[in-house]
Amino acid sequence: MTPAEYIKAYRVMLLARVLEEKLASLYRGGLIKGGVFLGRGQEALSVSVGIQLRRGDIFAPLIRDQAGRMAFGDTVLDTLRTYLGSQLGPMRGRDGNIHRGRPREGYYAMISHLGAMIPAVAGGLLARRLRGEAGAVGATCIGDGGTSTGAFHEGLNAAAVEKLPLIVVVANNQYAYSTPNTRQFACADLLDKAAGYGVAGHRADGTSLESCLVTLRRAIRAARDGGGPQLIVADLLRLVGHGEHDDGSYVDPKLKAAAVGKDCVLLAAAEIVSRGWATQAEADGWRTAAEDEVNTTVDRVRREPTPDPEEDDWMAFSRNEFAEQHAGV
């Protein structure tokens, strides 16, 4: 990991953080369509996934992956178009916010049902293998709660049977909405699950950008080199409520005060300055640049058209002749 790589990743984290701060503010102002679920505290882990994937890889992020999304190629513009309900966004008003994606570009559009993206990414990788295309990997992110789903189990098991180059990244953020890990699983350590599925396991410190970058690099390389699925568990703390409607008052203050509760963005910034890779003034400039980009884009998107019910073709099929033709529609 070079200083340049670290700084590049940090600046994506910072942009995600600044953008999400703006989203929270827009939400409070009543300008967001739909829910807002933020990744505060998970930027280091998320960016480390997205930034180390290549063009041609598959990425299926989850709800707290603004940093990973942008590292993989999503933009401030697409993000704001979706949250602000512009018709010009990738989902055209038909689905919102964290559900956005561009599946044709390997950027899968998550559904809300947790674990569902694991077999989908595995299937995408299976398709690559069937076509004889080597070298691509696929990554998807999930939380501690998502590891309890049947889809997580079925997807990881099936991917392991096929030895697919799948990277499953678990952000162990201590809570699934309000449910603490003590009510979520009984195993001593989520990483123990890797052995059960016969896949490689890796642990990262989710508050440390360096730990996340190094761990994800190792895992992605192992998958690319034919090592089969890789399970990464990173301990961190969700530094916001489940969504912006939730104040997270149930979060144990002892966790907030512990090492796991540290803010990865602040830690990474301090590292950069203390290692002499940039001055504080330069780091401050990066934040200003991020704020400028976000604010300019908000102004632009707020002038864009919203979806017109009269213009939507209301077609769930790709062929018009399959449309239901009866008086009830």
């Binding site: 077999p119 989908a120 595995a122 069937l130 076509r131 099936a158 062929r319 033709q325 009866h326 008086a327």
Partner: protein, 322 residues
């Protein structure tokens, strides 16, 4: 060509698409070297190495993987060992595959084969008819072939179209329904077929119930009544025009369906005819479904649970005398 069964037609269609379309692969429980629980994929693993392979006992993962492969441009055909088990993959079908095109503009061309419907001794968990359940969800094409010819040509259609297809192949028809050869032409997707013309009443049906309905029509013909029998072929899209045109000729409608009554295909057809063709009706439309209980295991109970030629004939006689 020697005679071919409904099941062999399904196998032949899969062989044809595997031969002609490199995007096709088959994935499901026991579909590989074993050739499938019903042998619908017999020898295909040998003929197409690496493209027909066993899945773990994981319906959610099977369909989820098909969804991902379809995003990448493949044309997966996945087999649920029994339609009943598709409930374990329901989420991937209705929330992922079905919503993909509307949400993202990227189509999801998967085919989910559901060995459907009752057979003697099948019982509550190996007998279900799930077409109405899937037809309820926007974005899914739901095919219910009732003939050997349709089993073949509609499966070819299912692979060719870009939208996800729930292919409800009827197990009761697998072995005993035969044809002299495979068809070279077929009706378009979503077009119903008048299987028997008539003037006195219309029976609208699909799947195995087509054959019970045709047998009932023959029985009533002996008494001088001519029943028109419409085979829907696909329940979604549902060919309302062909149904209305038939009711316009006969003035009477009986819907026969092996599924449960609440919110089923029969209910949907009657809703459409009463909404759009009320003036065509000379009598209240009737429906005959399976009884509203789980499908019983014992053959003596099962044979009464589902509509049969005799109960269809009885219902048709009542309709003719309203």
């Amino acid at each position: 060509m020697s005679s071919i069964t409904y099941l062999e037609a399904i196998r032949s269609a899969q062989e044809k698409v595997l031969t002609e379309d490199p995007r096709v692969f088959l994935y499901g429980q026991d579909v590989g070297n074993f050739g499938g629980a019903f042998k619908a994929t017999k020898n295909l693993a040998k003929l197409f190495p690496g493209r027909v392979f066993d899945a773990p006992l994981s319906e959610d993962a099977i369909i989820g993987m098909a969804v991902g492969a379809a995003i990448e441009g493949m044309r997966p055909i996945v087999e649920m060992q029994f339609a009943d088990f598709s409930t374990c993959g329901f989420n991937q079908i209705v929330n992922h595959a079905a919503t993909m095109f509307y949400r993202t503009g990227v189509p999801c061309p998967i085919v989910v084969r559901l060995p459907s419907g009752g057979t003697s001794g099948g019982g509550p968990f190996h007998s279900q008819s799930m077409e109405a359940l899937y037809a309820h969800y926007p974005g899914l094409v739901v095919m219910t072939p009732a003939t050997v010819e349709d089993a073949y040509s509609m499966l070819l259609d299912a692979v060719a179209i870009d939208d996800p297809v729930i292919f409800c192949e009827h197990k009761f028809l697998y072995y005993h329904l035969k044809a002299e050869g495979l068809p070279t032409t077929s009706l378009p997707v979503g077009k119903a077929r008048v299987a028997r013309p008539g003037r006195d009443a219309t029976i609208v049906t699909h799947g195995a119930m087509l054959h019970e309905s045709l047998a009932a029509a023959i029985e009533l013909a002996a008494d001088g009544y001519e029943l028109e029998v419409v085979d829907l072929r696909a329940v979604k899209p549902l060919d309302t025009d062909t149904v209305l045109a038939s009711v316009a000729r006969t003035g009477r409608l009986l819907c026969v369906s092996e599924e449960w009554p609440w919110g089923g295909v029969a209910a949907e057809v009657i809703a459409r005819v009463t909404t759009e063709g009320f003036g065509l009706l000379d009598a209240p439309p009737q429906r005959l479904n399976a009884k509203d209980t789980p499908v019983p295991y014992h053959p003596d109970l099962w044979s009464v649970h589902r509509p049969t030629a005799s109960t269809v004939a009885e219902a048709a006689r009542r309709l003719l005398h309203i």
